[in-house]
Symmetry: C2
């Protein structure tokens, strides 16, 4: 299938939005459609487009996998509620942590999350909803990376455990497939979404599980969640490309109240980059670095040591796992 | 036993040296004595004092445990040779790596090294040498920390597996027991030892094994040895209290030649401190930090990521394990 790219220079957001609302409306008709919202710019734009096209014939789920940042599920759901878009918050934390139990290998962790999401949680919701249409925020880069073999293929129905042959009639709608990220940000802005959505810094699909080296448990996610909150608070004004906290599996020696305290280490990364292809560490002042270390060791239980990554990409990557 | 401290203000190095040479000479008489040299300031001062007292009736061993820094055993031995002090270099790398095989716990690693040194390697050398006198660089802080329970007790004969009751006649001579480190540095300087000995920055007893998180293998020690060499070269002029490289057990994602490369991470620490009780990270420039990261990722095989520790002590400690 050849996809005609709409370049950002050629994009007329108003016309694009009007066209897509018309298309979605025509395809779904009087039926109902379903989608999953994560709070990222792609799924947020799709939710808003489909809401404008279908109103209460759209069923949107926000799946809380237990791996989100502090208060993120509640914040995203209430943000859409304020805009008149009903979103059902699904507590699936137990399913995800069960799927992740005992897994240390990064690839296996990703696979466990994908399986839990598509097969175990969202797949069941789609079937239960009775919807025959599924909206998905696939963008042009996703398609290209799938073809290049960089990303897992996004044949969404197959991933949902739905045999398209057998259950004929299911249809996937991908309204953003002609756009790249920067164009989607423009559309999202024009759709009336707030800046925290249309300018949201990149955040990995597997969420905080990508920020935990070693096993992903509720306790370990809570540790990196607290550190992430501090890093985001302290570095928000740096206008850096991306900033993040990573919980290491290695333990290191520390001392508290004069006593030896074998504890956790948090690694902070803050990147200067245009495109994430090459990147270098932001030259943060030592006042900021020491405040980060002080706050993280004081406010995050069990952490005795904080490092700052000083490597360029390449040979480093933006994320650690 | 009450030990009379000689405070640095009261120390007359020349007189101290003359007195100790006389004492050692009187005690050992026509017998032979034995000692182990590590290249640290304590064992170097003892070697020099005993050499001046006993000449060829002193047998000095340098035990290469495979955990030293690049070329350290050869450099120390040839340095003493140039000063006319014969030192026998004992290759015990296999014994130490065998003792360390499979051990990840820091306390167990320390214990394995202690056992390998005292029981397996040096203990046997002492017995074989026929010496009835053993010289040891115990200082006043060692004694106090032993009494306080901070350090392992240093009853040296017991650690050598020598029952003092049964093998009556063994005698330990501790010529530095009235001094603390700063006084020993003064004595070492007056003994004619070079600055790289009398001003040597602190280096842990278990050597590079203290700089490896996880299992200590010849390959992993070689990795941290190469990183240590770069860190010492680049940070020598910072006049920081101490600087070091740590090899993590955690692996992180990197990219080389456009391909994913799951590799090692090195953590650099550089400390400002007067007494090692409290310390803070040196505010190294980003030019230095980036050069460290560039050199380590280019020159040390397998390393894709370098961090700089930004935590104060407390809650951190100087070393990681």
């Amino acid at each position: 299938m050849k996809i005609d790219e709409i370049k950002i220079a050629d994009l007329k957001p108003e016309k694009f939005i009007k066209d897509k609302i018309g298309e979605i409306s025509n395809i779904v008709g009087d039926s109902i459609a379903v989608n999953a919202l994560s709070g990222g710019v792609d799924s947020s734009a799709v939710t808003m487009l489909a809401h404008k096209a279908l109103a209460n014939r759209l069923k949107t789920y926000f799946i809380d996998n237990g791996l989100m940042r502090a208060d993120e599920p509640q914040r995203v759901v209430s943000l859409f509620k304020k805009m008149g878009v009903p979103v059902e918050l699904v507590d699936a934390r137990e399913q995800f942590f069960n799927a992740l139990k005992g897994i240390k290998d990064p690839e296996e962790k990703r696979e466990a999350i994908t399986q839990a999401f598509y097969k175990d949680v969202f797949g069941k919701l789609v079937k239960k909803s009775g919807a025959r249409y599924l909206l998905h925020g696939t963008n042009l880069t996703d398609v290209e990376e799938t073809i290049a073999g960089v990303k897992r293929q996004h044949n969404i129905l197959e991933q949902l455990g739905i045999d398209t042959q057998e259950e004929y009639g299911y249809k996937v709608i991908e309204p953003l497939i002609q756009l790249r990220k920067s164009a989607i940000r423009k559309v999202a802005k024009d759709l009336g979404l707030p800046e925290e959505i249309y300018n949201r810094p990149p955040f990995p699909g597997p969420a905080l599980s990508a920020r935990v080296i070693g096993e992903v448990t509720p306790e370990r996610v809570e540790t990196v969640r607290k550190a992430t909150k501090i890093v985001e608070e302290e570095l928000r004004n740096t206008i850096a490309f991306q900033y993040l906290a990573i919980l290491h599996d290695d333990k290191v020696t520390g001392v508290r109240g004069g006593k030896r305290d074998f504890g956790f280490q948090i690694e902070v990364r803050c990147w200067e980059s245009k495109d994430a292809v090459v990147a270098s560490p932001t030259r943060l002042s030592y006042d900021i670095l020491e405040r980060l270390a002080d706050r993280i060791t004081k406010e995050v239980p069990g952490v005795v040591s904080v490092t700052y990554n000083i490597t360029k990409k390449p040979p480093s990557t933006i994320e650690a796992v």
